[in-house]
Amino acid sequence: MAAAKVKPDLTTDCAGIRSPNPFWLASAPPTNSGEQIMRAFDAGWGGAVWKTLGTPIQNVSSRFGATNYRGTAAIGFNNIELITDRPLDVNFREIAEVKKRYPDHAVIVSLMVETREEWKEIIQRSEDAGADGLELNFGCPHGMCERGMGSAVGQEPKVNERITGWAKEFATVPVLVKLTPNVGDIVPHGLAAKRGGADGVSLINTIKSIIGVDIDRFVPEPRVGGLSTNGGYCGAAVKPIALHMVGALARDPGFDIPISGIGGVRNWRDAIEFMLLGSTSVQVCTEVMLRGYRIVEDMIEGLTEYMARHGFATVDQLVGKAVPSFSEWGQLDLNYETIAKIDAQSCIGCQLCVTACHDGAHQCIHPTGESRVPVIDEDECVGCNLCQIVCPVPGCISMVEVDNGYTPATWNQHVGEGATLRPKKGAH
């Protein structure tokens, strides 16, 4: 691919909301106040979705929890924090201040109220303060849903559509509907928002979860005295779920409004994955909570460099680029074949691949007894990728395509047209 001669332009227009780059802070603790958001904009964030406004609540103390993995803190994160606990007057005053000082950055105000009248009032006040857009919080899976808001709305397409309709009736700025992942299929919920008139959707909100259990006190976490409750799961671990839901909407023929992607984005690479699956802007929360606003510098650089490398002049050119290749299992070529190859030069002899293949796959990687470099029984290797996944040495194990002489044939073609499938491997 030819490299672009011009410097890539990161300017983003997501559902009519313009920002200097596609990186927005998600509605969450990092967007709790004007002072924070101004620092975030100084760091380079293109937009911020203000911490959800509604009737201010009282939070519990002890409200975050994390799941760790092999010494890495918080690969998954959850919270039982609710919407803003600050007076609305203060919030609106700060929104106005931010917009005055940062006219080119996007300030989207997240909202969650109950009645039609309340929606009308809070939308009016948000626009008066200078909001560039609104995000309807139909996703919060804890606390607020017990009060008939948040995911209680997002899980009911008819309610979603009706309230979205109210918001569109009152709003003059673009309206995004934030969707909850706590549903079986995301598509009907995205379509409901669209029917309600939404200019775009943002997803995913957090996933209903229990982050852990204090095994000595016999209480789930985060522990609030002697009790806990389910919270919203987020962070790096949820990215695959979020990518799927974004992709599922993006490829649906009946869905054609912009998406602001959210869920486990830590860096430019994650952000690009969301964009390739159909996100116009990308929202980040957990990684900022863990590492601070400063991470955006690398995100901007990484995206710019990536776009230059692929010859993308504007972000529009990459948004949705991977959507056409997100298909159904029945469309996959069953005659496509790869096998694992080990580079003996870079192999360090840990033999993690041996155990992984032996216990977790198809028993086709064997120690030789002569050197620590294992051998692959290529007649048995099904090409599952597990050895490559466990190998600690970058590039040591590669999955190599095999020309087995068979014409591509999908399951659908096999069932429908009798297409010939290659003999199974490892199935004995």
Binding site: R70, G71, I348, P392
Partner: protein, 444 residues
């Protein structure tokens, strides 16, 4: 058994490899790849399942981690400190092949075993009493490991130790920046807490009791008496200011040595005792310390990583030099020496004199095999007891391990050999054999 006194010159030393904090241990443990059929295990003479004990640190199962270590090596606490891990487990960590710093296995092992000691965890109980009794000669690592294993099998044990202190070289010889005498004593206490091990200190087998006595009173014998006294060069014994290195080390580990006025010390030798000795003298405050070795740096038998550490402490080396005589004058000692060529032959006209206030000889230790030489079936090779892979000496009922049999290796070798011998002794006793039922031919 007498405990090491509290006033010991070795107290001035700090740990060369400080203990991990919990945070450090977790960070390091989480780096371990948990290799399959891991090379580090194969490099360990006692075969500790290293990836497993490290994983257990990472999962906050420190008790299980310690159990994994001690199941393989009951002396895992001292080995964590004194093992030359650079040439054993750590040296074989696969990360070395990736250009990534290898896992600090010794420090992780120290972490788990120290926690176990601090918490008072013990993992093993004596087996049901078999009525058999085994005599163990010497109270060093080999005998301790052997006795502990024998106790798990239910055999009674009596350890004969000629010194007042126990623990062998772990107590009297280990470099104090690795482990001090009181920590070795902790280990002895912990190992013997299994119960049923009688300690007879101040009793030298071959002098105070005979092997014939042992054959009369015991069903089997394990010989773990280690090595003999320091070797001496001709015509220097008795000159003030010249000491055997092993003897000198024992003196400052078990008591106090006076190095006032010692400005320059020479250590003769190029093995691990010599490298220990130069670092120890430096640490004890001698301003100028040099190692005098007949060969080159590349040819020295002391571990390269240890010598590297010595160099960083500004310790000098005088390579390819052979002492030819020692003299004591008014202004201290003088060592007459010649330079040697590549084949360690004296170079003509190279005679010179090296000034010194203190000279330690680290040219090897004598072997104690003569103590047992009179017994039929026991074979010696240059003073070392010849044994098979199970520690069997060739005389029924007699087994051996540790330095007495291997000629002078690591604590971890002694631990492995003691344990292997215990298994062999158990099998021999299980087949209804006993020294007491045998004709005692040639016993001395």
């Amino acid at each position: 058994m007498i405990r090491p006194p509290s006033a010991r010159s070795e107290a001035v030393f700090d740990d060369f490899k400080p203990a991990y904090t919990t945070g450090q241990a977790l960070a390091e443990a989480n780096r371990c790849l948990y290799c399959s059929d891991a090379p580090c295990i194969q490099a360990c003479p006692t075969g500790i399942d290293i990836p497993e004990f490290i994983r257990k640190i990472a999962t906050d199962n420190v008790k299980g981690s310690a159990r994994t270590i001690f199941e393989a090596n009951i002396l895992g606490m001292s080995c964590a400190r004194v093992c030359p891990v650079e040439v054993l487990c750590v040296g074989d960590c696969v990360y070395n092949h990736m250009g990534v710093p290898p896992i600090q296995i010794g420090k992780l092992q120290r972490y788990s075993t120290d926690v176990a000691y601090a918490e008072g965890w013990t993992f093993f109980e004596a087996g049901e009493d078999t009525g058999k009794r085994v005599a163990l000669v010497g109270a060093g690592p080999a005998s301790l490991a052997c006795a502990h294993a024998l106790r798990r099998m239910g055999h009674g044990c009596t350890i004969f130790e000629k010194r007042a202190v126990v623990g062998g070289l772990n107590t009297t010889g280990v470099a104090p920046y690795k482990m001090k005498a009181d920590r070795s004593q902790d280990e002895v206490d912990w190992v013997l807490s299994i119960g049923g091990v009688e300690l007879k200190t101040g009793v030298e087998v071959g002098r105070d009791v005979t092997f014939a006595d042992l054959e009369r009173d015991f069903d089997a014998v394990f010989v773990g008496f280690g090595l003999g006294p320091d070797g001496w060069l001709p015509d220097c014994e008795g000159i003030a200011g010249i000491h055997g290195a092993v003897d000198f080390i024992e003196r400052f580990k078990l008591g106090e040595v006076d190095l006032d006025g010692v400005e320059r010390a020479l250590v003769i030798g190029g093995g691990n005792t010599a490298v220990d000795a130069v670092r120890e003298l430096k640490g004890l405050g001698v301003p100028r310390v040099a190692m005098v070795y007949r060969g080159t740096e590349a040819g020295m038998s002391g571990y390269a990583h240890e010598w590297q550490a010595a160099k960083l402490e500004n310790i000098e080396a005088i390579w390819q030099t052979q002492p030819t005589g020692f003299a004591r004058g008014d202004d201290g000692l003088a060592v007459d020496a010649v330079k040697l060529d590549e084949k360690k032959r004296p170079i003509e006209g190279s005679a010179h004199r090296l000034p010194a206030d203190l000279v330690l000889l680290a040219i090897g230790q004598g072997k104690l095999g003569e103590l047992i030489a009179g017994l039929d079936g026991v074979r010696l090779d240059r003073g070392r007891l010849v044994v098979d892979a199970h520690g069997y000496t060739g005389r029924p009922g007699y087994y051996a391990g540790g330095d007495a049999a291997n000629g002078g290796k690591e604590v971890v070798n002694a631990a492995a050999e003691g344990k292997a011998a215990a298994r062999a002794i158990d099998a021999w006793l299980a087949a209804d054999n006993s020294l007491r039922s045998q004709k005692t031919e040639g016993a001395v």
